[in-house]
């Protein structure tokens, strides 16, 4: 769904700066391997979020002393996360209601 990946990235970054691979792993682990993100799709999304000013990036060293580009949430990104989360919740609730009604009807 449009914007889902953005939401997941923003949500992951709330725990602190993280590099791309870390974000991918975090999403996979938190969702208990339910959500399989194609890593290649992650980077254009990160680029987009960076352009929107919701996240910022800088090169740094990873835990195993590798060079990596670290992303962190900006204050605008935090606001966006709150807004998107609320929207997402409304949306899923609405979908759940529709699906629930259908289930009752059948």
């Amino acid at each position: 769904m449009q914007g889902t990946l953005d939401l997941l990235i923003l949500r992951t970054l709330i725990f602190g700066p993280q590099h791309g691979q870390g974000i991918a792993r975090a999403i996979q682990q938190t969702s208990e391997e339910e959500l399989l993100v194609e890593h290649g799709a992650l980077y254009p999304a990160l680029q987009r979020l960076e352009e929107c000013g919701w996240i910022s990036a800088k090169w740094g060293a990873s835990s195993n002393n590798r060079k990596a580009r670290f992303y962190s949430l900006t204050s605008a990104g935090r606001k966006q996360l709150v807004k998107e989360t609320a929207k997402w919740k409304r949306l899923t609730a609405a979908i759940a209601r529709i699906l629930g009604l259908e289930a009752e009807g059948s």
């Binding site: 590099h19 691979q21 991918a24 194609e38 890593h39 195993n64």
Partner: protein
Amino acid sequence: MFWRKRKGSDFSAEIEAHIQQESERLREQGMSPEEARAAARRAFGNVMHAEERFYESTRWMWWDHLKQDVHFGLRILAKSPGFTGVAVLTLALGIGATTAIFSMVNGVLLRPLAYRQPNQLYLVREIIPELSQTYPTLPANLRNFRVWQRDCHSFEDVAIVEPLNMTLTGHGEAEQISGGHASANLFEVLGIQAELGRTFLPHEDAPGKNQVVVLSDSFWRERFHADETIAGRSITLDGKPFQVVGILPASFRFPKATQLGAMVEFPSRADYFTPLGLHPEQFSPLGEFDFAAIARLRHGTSASQALAELNTIQAQIAKDEKQGVGLRAALIPLESQVVGDARGGLLLLLGGVGAVLLIVCMNLANLLLVRLPGRVREAAIRTAIGASRGQLTRQLLTESGLIAVLGGALGIWLAYFGVRWLVALAPASLPRLDEVHMDARVLLLMVCVSLLTGVLFGALPAWRVAHAEPQQALKQGSGTTTESSYTRRLRESLICLEVGVGTLLLIIAGLLTTSLVHLLGVDKGFSAEHVLAVDVSLPPQSYTKPEQKQGFYDEVLTRVRSLPGVGSAGWISRLPLEGQEQVDSISVPGHPSNLQAPVANYRYVTAGYFHAIGIPLRQGRWIEPTDRDRHVAVISQSVANEVWPGQNPLGMKFHTGGDEAPLTEVVGVVADIRTVALDEPPLLMIYLPAGPASRNWSGSHASLAVRATMAPAALGSAVRGVMQSVDSGVPILHLRPMAEIVSESVSTRRFEMLLACLFALFALLLAALGIYGVVAYAVAQRRRELGIRMAFGACGVDLRNLVLQHGMWLVLAGWATGLLAALVTGHVIRSLLFGVAPQDPLTIASVTVAVLFVGALACYVPAARTTKLDPMAALRQE
């Protein structure tokens, strides 16, 4: 912003870091390094796709595409330098010529006069119906002007001005300066404010109050070194003090020569203006029409309304004066009067330029069309591997656009020199020549024109290529790259049109040349060969009495006549072809009104003048030295015919001017001469003996005509030496062969003719190149067919004639088109011709010969190659 600057390599590094990290993690889980890396790559998906998406997100794609197209286009163009060179050069010449000529037309024709709302300004001329045969319109009269100023409500205001020469003293060498005196409101009417100081105050044109002067910017800079303290100071003009009150802006130009109507001749530059300071009562109401009157129409008033009101006023004036003649007026838009005769010629040039540019476009389109079959194959391959029609069209248009930009840039550079060359070449009489230069507007226009030509000549081939069927194009073997009959016909029609336009331009150029030849061969009434003309101006301070002036003239004459190589010499108040002067009536005693009497140009001559200038005697005798104090006259043939038709004019008597003038006896009749211009019919001329008692002649200016028995130029320094030895204080204004005056009088025509010929030759050259291209291409196309014909027994000459025939049909069709166009549009240029009809058969015949010859040559060169055709080689080529 930061993200814009993020490079693709940075993004790739990030991806690489990701894959490394991921594979390290997988290795930790027990995979071999190779397996881990492969798995990490799999999980990542398409790296290239991610990179592409990143790339697209950071760019303006159209700019990228353009860069790519331009790059590719440059490579294509560089691959065929011959084609590129010819195309760019053709376009550069076309655009260069167009820009140069357009700058000229823009400066002279299109740019409005640098006055406030110049379209509201009208020249007011007076008309006396009884005189309109000789003088259709007359300059304004001071008394009538005052009436208009008071009574004509259609005018916001009206001003008058008259040329005036004065001598400036007290600032180094005495110098005669030219300018004008005007009503105080002149600058207000024109809408010009002084750059420094002020212009005239309303009361300053009253008698006695007029001792003020405004100076032109250039005169102020040259003579007073831009001294700002000059304002308020006094300068001496004609011995009287004039207070300098203001300096005019540098952009101010005043109409020159007869740009304010016939009989008001301003010098080429006006150095100063003073207020009139004349009593209107000094002027007779129906004489002394000497002034240029410029009116500014009230807003919302049409010229016809204003003219109706003015004519009512004029009728009232005529009624009050009871002279038995009518009085009317004419309003002429100032702009059209200033641009005047030059309009027709310049518009013709502009048309020529347009035609040349059209030919240039057609030639370029043709060049591109020739390359078409090859391009169609290339395009087919590109389509096959996924290029869209849009991309193909864009690519091809970029290519033609590149040619246009290169050609345009080179053309504008050429135009820069072209303008300077044209200005140097152009006759000085061309109005507002000094204002001609390339300005931003012309440049902008030319940039648009070059881009437009690019699109224009590129559009058709681009469309053809983009819409070609790739399958068909590819199916045709690699050897034959045939062009469709549609394209061939198109190219052939373009060539026909080119030949047509070339023929039309040649006919026009031919007609203008014939006109000039006719004009130079016209019977001038005098002979300019071997005649030296010297104009002098006697300084008024040292020559106050008529006897002093006469003394100078006599002394010079005596000494010049004794110079070796001098046949004869004589003075005259104004030379032929130098315009009208001293216009007055011829009143025969007993004639009812002097206003209905014919009007003639009076000239004062010394003995020897007629011999020197070569005006033949028809009847009676010359003016002799002994005639100096006698009232005798020599008249021109047309005076005799007009005043005393069918009678012997010798011994007849008339008043030179009004009835109060002394009776003068006709002693001789000489041939008519061209007084104003070679293309204007002779005017009535009366020659009176120059002497101290000459009425109406101040004697301050005169011209010496010297007939040499050798080349007149060689005599120049000797004559100058004589003048200097008699009085070195007398400035020599001009010293030149009379032939130069004749030549200068047709300089505008010569200029037009020269440019028309240049255009025509350029057009013919381009058309010849076009024909050559078409025939050469046809030969290449038909190699197989010709080879087969040869194999069946046709000899080389047969084949050559076959090809030649094909080419000559095109030439003939083009020639016929051009001829038809010339016959239909001939009347447009009638006003530019002299002594030749627009359908002049001789011109048309010579042009036909020229076009057919050049066309045949252009066909023959490539056609001749067929004779060397080897049938085996031609057939094997497949």
